[in-house]
Subunit: 322 residues, 2 copies
């Protein structure tokens, strides 16, 4: 006898009912789930972004329970709204899953989506979605947000002389991923075997806590450019520098206790921004914007040729090189 119902045992309507009783209500929703589409009040302009989590390339089921999956799918999308200087208002969730997925896993995904919204972006909630059958568990989330009447903060506005600043953790989620690969390959992570710092890193990898509210704060403080760091600080800084046609010079001494981890680490979804004036509270200066040079990103004034180019033995003797 099976101990719990599977997705294939229930009708679409029954599954939707279990999801929608868990996802809460978006403050700006005029029409929520249940009609052909949701309808939302928008103040200013609309921000819209989509990002997908797929079993295999993006997560492993032995590491990510349903709650973590729902949380992460929400967090990474909400972060892209914050990175435009906006306030997230609603999520749409396209969930595709095998028929042998336990219904409890779907319910936990819904719980994770709701609690990430409540914690990271109060007022935001799931307003619609789609359920499909697939052999691969797939969460495609669209996040919507609001500029609140301010101009959106683009990647392209950094100007020479601006301060480069960051909000949020750097390198922690990447360290957590390393721990999962090294110590829990193929098994559920036993957090009791980890030090507090290791446990924190694993938790941040599975359930990132990006500094979402600081996106609006940066926009209000006149950020000239902003983006969220999802693929690694150097790689994303290179993108911002390219979009702005400038060079960014990062100060390794400002990158915390593990500068190498910070430069390579991505999935914390820190906010990288540039400011002509003083960065607002919550942002830490980590460098300055220069006129465009041969390299898009420098570390301590020396060329840094991207994620793969970081050689700790060659580059890590400090500003003087070796």
């Amino acid at each position: 006898m099976r101990s719990e119902p599977l997705v294939g045992d229930l009708s679409e309507k029954e599954i939707l009912a279990r999801i929608s009783e868990r996802t809460g209500r978006a403050e700006n929703a005029l029409v929520g789930p249940g009609d052909d589409a949701a309808v939302l009040r928008v103040t200013g302009s609309l921000i819209a972004t989509t990002d997908t989590l797929i079993e295999g390339p993006d997560f492993r089921s032995e590491w990510s329970d349903g709650y973590s999956l729902g949380w992460k799918a929400a967090a990474v999308n909400l972060s892209d709204v914050a990175a435009m200087g906006g306030r997230p208002t609603a999520l749409l969730v396209a969930l595709a899953m095998p028929n042998d997925t336990p219904v409890s896993r779907v319910e936990r995904i819904a719980d994770g989506l709701r609690e990430a919204c409540e914690r990271l972006a109060p007022g935001c909630a799931v307003v619609g979605g789609d359920l499909t059958q697939s052999s691969v568990l797939t969460l495609a989330v669209t996040a919507l947000g609001d500029t609140g009447g301010r101009a959106p903060v683009l990647r392209s506005g950094a100007r020479p002389g601006d301060t480069v600043a960051i909000a949020g953790e750097m390198g922690v989620a990447a360290r957590g991923l390393g721990i999962l690969f090294e110590r829990f390959d193929g098994t559920a992570p036993d957090l009791s075997r980890l030090t507090p710092a290791e446990r924190h890193a694993v938790e941040r990898q599975l359930r990132p806590v990006p500094p979402l509210g600081l996106g609006v704060a940066a926009a209000e403080a006149g950020a000239s450019a902003m983006m969220d760091v999802s693929d690694g600080l150097v790689l994303d800084a290179t993108r911002l520098a390219e979009a702005s046609a400038v060079t960014l010079d990062l100060d390794s001494g400002a990158l915390g206790p593990d500068p190498q981890g910070a430069l390579g680490g991505g999935e914390d979804h820190a906010l990288l921004a540039t400011f002509a004036g003083e960065p607002p509270e919550g942002f830490r200066p980590i460098g300055r914007v220069l006129a465009p040079g041969a390299a898009r990103v420098l570390v301590d004034g020396a060329p840094f040729d991207g994620r793969g180019g970081w050689d700790p033995y060659r580059d890590w003797a400090g500003p003087s090189g070796s």
Copy 2:
């Protein structure tokens, strides 16, 4: 030697470049693809909906080339915006695919997305998206639209005495699917072996042409309720009747030359609406709204118990029964 590049041969940036040169520009986009998120101008309230096409349950690659897939993914989502009485303004596309997908297939998906927007919803285009690797080709599309200051048309507003009306084809796409299953199971459809009517049906199944502009027309004419018919006329009419707490009585004589096909057929994405007054041009009266009775949907005044309940031998002797 391979004759053409595969997705796995190119970087994400190269694939994105090939897609974005094909997807056109949305009229209301303030910021298009390339930043953390898109930014859109909205007039009135925002309409948002998502729907996913997955290889296997939703399409077969031997029947649907990339162009048809892109077209259909756009059309079915745009139709949900129209069904709220809105004008579609933008699409976000999360595309997940195996590394051995030919790049030309991705390019044709982009072509299909663009041309469906141009033909069905001028001014609308892809404004953002996401690329991921998956073993199953998956297109999760979010469509955004605008109420233009009018109230959205919900499923719940039908009142006794209203006229039930429909715009668009009925049963044609379902007939096309039947032809594909019967005559081209496991092979590419050879349209030259089909009569013109059969070819039309197959084309409509693969590339539906919903009457999108009539969504706004219905809202302007004061439609009391509306939805798009995606799962079958009777099933969807039952949903509208439930949401409105009424009974719908459909007139089989108004359903065209194949009433049985019309009652069961879905994927044409016809617009089903109710009107207190005269339906606007493009809508055909097919019945009336009654006070709620034991059955949610009647056909010619007799109970009809849903999609599976239609028995042509028992029910199809006409209004008098048999």
